[in-house]
Symmetry: C2
DNA sequence: GTGAAAAATGAAAAAACTTTTCAATTTTCG
DNA sequence: CGAAAATTGAAAAGTTTTTTCATTTTTCAC
């Protein structure tokens, strides 16, 4: 993630490293407020604004994706792959990516039914992760 | 929508009728602020709080669904069907519902790849609506 | 390495959005 | 028609995000 940032021409700064690392360590996705807290343990002077700015950059680079959950749409999870989606555990919130989305038929059907030319989609799955299932 | 509201035991009030009608008239989904403006043309005294409260009720009843778009997650569109998703035009923002989502294979594959037990999903498609395509 | 230019930072203020409170009004129903 | 219950909306409070701008940090050419 740091590498991609500098390859995209952004400076390598302490603040950004803190945000990036805080993000990487989160299994569940993290809000800007979460990232400020976690990030400050790595760089005490970190400011909330920089968290927002770093997220914006990472999102544009496709390194991070916003999660849209029942209780809010302000958390972000890392996104290594190109086209992929997240599956989110309803119990522990663990968010993992999965690739290989074979959703073409659904898109075609939607297109046929509505007349829209479908160009992109947003898909998020919710369920229970393996660890949480074991605990039951 | 009004019928469903009263069947669910809610009073039939001028404020709610204004919000409901404003919502029904919106092709693109509407934010609470939009609904206040539009709603006030039907009931001048309408308050913003009532818009929020009405949306909350309608959402719980499944009559309205939140849209999650690039520029924000605060607009709502009516939702007649049970399980359905919206397709949103990137040009004019028209949001239409489509039913008949055959997405089971994708869910199974995601489940196999991640080990999650998938219980629900959120899907939104983006593209160009028929009217906008004609204009090109 | 040095130093100037460019980029980035963060505190504070402003803006935007949402929720809570509560007295007053409206609706329901016997 | 009342009385009780539900609803309303202004205002205040709370929350989140964006803007500003003086200062600091990073980069890069020498
Ligand atoms: Mn959202
Ligand atoms: Mn579906
Ligand atoms: Zn879990
Ligand atoms: Zn359109």
């Amino acid at each position: 993630m740091l590498r991609a940032l500098s390859e995209a021409g952004f400076s390598d700064t302490r603040a950004r490293r803190a945000v990036v690392q805080a993000l990487s360590e989160s299994r569940t996705g993290a809000t800007p407020a979460d990232l400020l807290t976690r990030g400050r343990s790595l760089h005490a002077g970190l400011g909330q604004v920089t968290v927002y700015r770093t997220l914006e950059i990472l999102e544009h680079l496709g390194l991070v994706r916003k999660l849209h959950q029942e209780d809010g749409c302000s958390s972000y999870a890392t996104s290594s792959a190109g086209h992929a989606h997240h599956v989110i555990c309803r119990t522990c919130r663990a968010a993992v990516e999965f690739e290989g989305c074979r959703i073409e038929e659904v898109l075609h059907e939607a297109s046929a039914r509505t007349g829209y030319k479908v160009e992109s989609h947003f898909l998020e799955l919710f369920g229970v992760c393996p660890a949480c299932r074991r605990k039951k």
